[in-house]
Each structure stands twice: as structure tokens, then as C-alpha cells.
């Protein structure tokens, strides 16, 4: 009974955190976008900073008409937002926010996260297929190609860390970084992982699946109201989890000078990575689909294989 209660409480805590985090990130993104373009961004809702703008938008989205497109594949269309949002929430189970501040420390934590994030592609493809819309299907096709291509370098780039730490458990990986972060021996791995994470969360240099100038809104063209809101929710959730995973694997997780508790260091590093992702989004233009594929298959995958080879050789010869 206590286990069930604990599980329910943990689920509520995670869902609350994901929701609040998405609200904050959407507000932050709009503020940063505004200031980079020398505008001011959201305003007046909840004080002069517009901090409650996302909440107002959320209420608006809840109260919108539940529009269903004609000719849709009903069940698939209905299920797609949920399937695409679930992995973004489930990844939180395995992320260590602080020492012992983790819902479930698995000895295969990294494999769990890799498999769960790949699952998100299914929701995207279901949305594109079920909508019975050419833009949705094209967006879903692009998303399929892109997520499939970038899943490989993302996973390969983490293998260097796994070799160095000798464990797949995320808590052990962080614990191994108490002396020095894995960023400096694994700088190539970090760069590959970060680029691949941007591509997997469909953020701007790689936002081809939802390129609004070509595909209206990509795979979620036919969604509106709260169903639509689940896609940005999933997107910002997976942006956060990607950055949290990068922090865990490369930036020493909760480790930091002692004057602040570990979870603050963890969130600080993660939100700095999130900020950099937003900065990149509002600086770089969208790449072409062939450039995207070239970067993934001809550059990142060979480089990550070289990285694994170098790390393995170092560990075999020096240690």
C-alpha cells in the first residue's frame, strides 16, 4: 500500500514539475526571443514581466473548441498527443536531481532513457498519419528521418561516458564525476550529444518537422486546443530532459562547490544548457533537409565512433 501511495505521489510530483517547467520555459523562450529581437516579449500578465502569460495561454487552450478534422484515423489521432507526451514525462523517473534525489535509480538508467526518448517518435508519426493531412504526413516523415538519424549519434556519444564511468546507472555516473567532470575528456562527445539533443527536440536549426514556412505546423497541424498544447508540452519537457541528461553525463550532475545544495547546482547547469539552446534557436536559421542528413550521417556518427575508439584505446592502454 505504501508503495502505491509513494508511486502516486511521485507521479503527481513529476507531472507538476513537468507542467510548471514547461510554463516557465515557454515564458523564458518568449522573453529571450523578444529581447534578442529588441522587443520586450510577454507583458502585463502577472506583473510587468508577464510571468503568468503561459498560464493565461494554458487556460485559453483548455477552453477552446475540441475540433476534430474530417477523415482522420480516429483512435490513432486521439492517442498521438498522449503517446508523444508520455516519454517526455517518463524520462524524469531516471534523472538524478541530487544525491539520492532520484525516483528510481536503475542499473540500466541510460538505456532506459535512450529507449524511452525514441518512443516519442511513435507519437509524432501517429499524429502525422492519423491527421489525414499532407503537411502532417510530410512533417511526420521528416521527423521520422531526423529523429532516427540523430538517435544514433546521441547514443554513441554517451558510450564514451559509459566507458569512462564503467556503469550505465546515472547515479553512479554522476558519483564518478566527483573529482572531475567528464566534459573535458569527453568534449567531443558533449558537443555531439548537445547537437543531437537539439535535433531530437526539434529545435530551430533542426526544426524541419514543424517548419512553419513549409509545412504549416508539421505533424500537429490538425490539432488545436489542449491536444495541441500537449505537443509543445512534450517538446519543452524533452528539451529539459535532454539538457538534464547532458548535465548528468558531462557536467558533473549535482556536483559543485559546497555552499549550495546539490539539486540547485543540477538545476543551474541544466537551465544554463536550456538557455544556450534558446540562444541557438534565435541565432541560427533552419538547415535544409540534405544538410541535416549530411551532418548526422557523414559527420556526427563517424566522429562519435572515433570518440568511442579513442576513449576505449585510452582506457585499455593507460589504465
Amino acid at each position: 500500500m505504501n508503495d502505491v501511495l509513494a508511486a502516486v505521489l511521485e507521479a503527481i510530483a513529476v507531472l507538476t514539475y513537468v507542467a510548471l517547467n514547461a510554463f516557465v520555459l515557454i515564458w523564458l523562450e518568449r522573453k529571450i526571443a523578444g529581447h534578442i529581437q529588441r522587443r520586450v516579449g510577454p507583458l502585463r500578465v502577472g506583473g510587468p514581466s508577464g510571468a503568468l502569460q503561459s498560464l493565461a495561454d494554458g487556460i485559453k487552450l483548455f477552453s477552446k473548441e475540441d475540433f476534430r478534422p474530417g477523415g482522420k484515423d480516429g483512435f490513432v489521432w486521439w492517442l498521438a498527443p498522449l503517446v508523444s507526451m508520455t516519454p517526455a514525462v517518463m524520462v524524469f523517473i531516471a534523472i538524478p536531481f541530487g544525491q539520492h534525489l532520484i525516483i528510481q535509480d536503475m542499473n540500466i538508467g541510460l538505456i532506459f532513457i535512450a529507449s524511452i526518448t525514441s518512443f516519442g517518435l511513435l507519437g509524432v508519426f501517429m499524429a502525422g498519419w492519423g491527421s489525414n493531412n499532407k503537411y502532417s504526413l510530410l512533417g511526420a516523415m521528416r521527423a521520422g528521418a531526423q529523429l532516427f538519424s540523430y538517435e544514433i549519434p546521441a547514443i554513441l556519444s554517451t558510450i564514451g561516458v559509459v566507458l569512462a564511468a564503467g556503469s550505465l546507472s546515472l547515479e553512479t555516473i554522476v558519483a564518478k564525476q566527483s573529482a572531475h567532470w567528464f566534459l573535458f575528456p569527453q568534449i567531443i562527445g558533449f558537443i555531439i550529444f548537445y547537437i543531437a539533443a537539439l535535433a531530437e527536440t526539434n529545435r530551430t536549426p533542426f526544426d524541419l518537422p514543424e517548419a512553419e514556412s513549409e509545412l504549416v505546423a508539421g505533424y500537429f497541424t490538425e490539432y488545436s486546443g489542449i491536444r495541441w498544447a500537449m505537443f509543445p508540452f512534450a517538446e519543452y519537457g524533452s528539451l529539459f530532459t535532454s539538457c538534464a541528461l547532458a548535465t548528468t553525463l558531462f557536467l558533473g550532475g549535482w556536483h559543485g562547490p559546497l555552499f549550495l545544495p546539490g539539486w540547485i547546482w543540477f538545476l543551474l547547469k541544466t537551465y544554463i544548457l536550456v538557455f544556450v539552446a534558446m540562444w541557438i534557436r534565435w541565432t541560427l536559421p533552419r538547415v535544409r533537409i540534405d544538410q541535416l542528413m549530411d551532418l548526422g550521417w557523414k559527420f556526427l556518427i563517424p566522429l562519435s565512433l572515433v570518440n568511442i575508439l579513442g576513449t576505449g584505446a585510452y582506457i585499455a592502454l593507460v589504465r
Binding site: I32, H35, R38, R39, V40, T283, L284
Partner: protein, 172 residues
């Protein structure tokens, strides 16, 4: 060599681009919060031609010659010359002077045409009304408008004065 150059150019352009956006991120936004914060109009902004009052005599400079009426492309100016009721002789001032701002295209031609320095261009932009006929200004309204803002006359090939605004966001 080709690959190295590509990578170098990519990295360089990314660093330069991010430096530019970082600079813009910390710069002051150029947004003006209009109803609360009024922008400073650049000198020479046009909103409506108004009737100038001669500061020495206190009368209008207008002699009712009708040149502005004739030169006006959308014919939005109507002038009725004053007539002495006893002698039936025409007098050199307007009895009525009507300007329909809903037709006026603010081309400055009436001011260019005026030989008596009687018309000036106002720079106050907030003149909207709920009824289109309220935009038909009579003589007294045009004089009142002249008194509210700083109207200037730019005519006869005279170049625009230097833009003098203290606000760095103005005059863009």
C-alpha cells in the same frame, strides 16, 4: 583543406552570430509602450495642415486667395471668401475654411502653394474620431489645432531640418 576550411567557416560564423544575438539580448528594447509612453515625432512629421495665426496682428495670414484649394489633389479644402454685407465687396480673409482630413493625403502641396505663409503642417498624430464627418475641420478648429502642437512650414525646396530628438530610438 576543403573540410578544414568548411569547419573553420562554420565555427567562425556561429561564434559571430551568437555574439551579435548576445549583444542584442542585453541591449535596450526599442519598443515604445504607446498609450503610456509617447514617441517623440521626428521634425517634419505630417499629420494635418493647419491655419497659422500671425503673432503680430493676431489675425490669420490667410487672404482667401484659393491657391491651396486649387492645388489640393484630393480637393479636400473648401474656402468661402468673406464678403462685406453692405458693400458686397470681397474681403481678404476667409469666411469659412474647411479641410476634410478624411480625404487629405497629407502631401504638403497646399503649404507649398501658399504665398502668404498661412498654412503650416502639424505633427500631432492622435486625431482619430468615431465619426468620419468629425474629421471635417472648420476654421476655428484648424486654428485651435495650430495652437496645440508645434506646426512648421517646409516649402519652396527648403531641406528638412536636422532631426533633433534626444531619444535614441526616435527618428528610425
Amino acid at each position: 583543406m576543403g573540410l578544414a576550411r568548411t569547419v573553420w567557416n562554420t565555427v567562425k560564423s556561429m561564434v559571430v552570430g551568437h555574439a551579435i544575438t548576445a549583444r542584442e539580448l542585453t541591449a535596450r528594447p526599442i519598443t515604445i509602450f504607446y498609450p503610456e509612453e509617447k514617441p517623440e515625432y521626428p521634425t517634419g512629421s505630417r499629420s494635418v495642415p493647419v491655419l497659422k495665426v500671425n503673432e503680430e496682428s493676431g489675425w490669420l495670414n490667410c487672404t482667401s486667395c484659393g491657391l491651396c484649394e486649387r492645388t489640393c489633389p484630393p480637393t479636400c479644402i473648401e474656402i468661402d471668401q468673406a464678403v462685406d454685407p453692405e458693400t458686397k465687396k470681397k474681403k481678404p480673409w476667409p469666411h469659412t475654411f474647411t479641410l476634410d482630413l478624411s480625404h487629405c493625403m497629407v502631401c504638403n502641396l497646399c503649404i507649398e502653394a501658399c504665398p502668404f505663409d498661412a498654412l503650416e503642417m502639424l505633427d500631432v498624430a492622435e486625431l482619430s474620431t468615431y465619426q468620419v464627418q468629425d474629421l471635417k475641420f472648420n476654421k476655428e478648429q484648424l486654428i485651435d489645432l495650430w495652437k496645440t502642437g508645434k506646426a512648421i512650414r517646409i516649402a519652396e525646396g527648403q531641406s528638412m531640418p536636422e532631426i533633433t530628438t534626444s531619444d535614441p530610438r526616435g527618428g528610425r
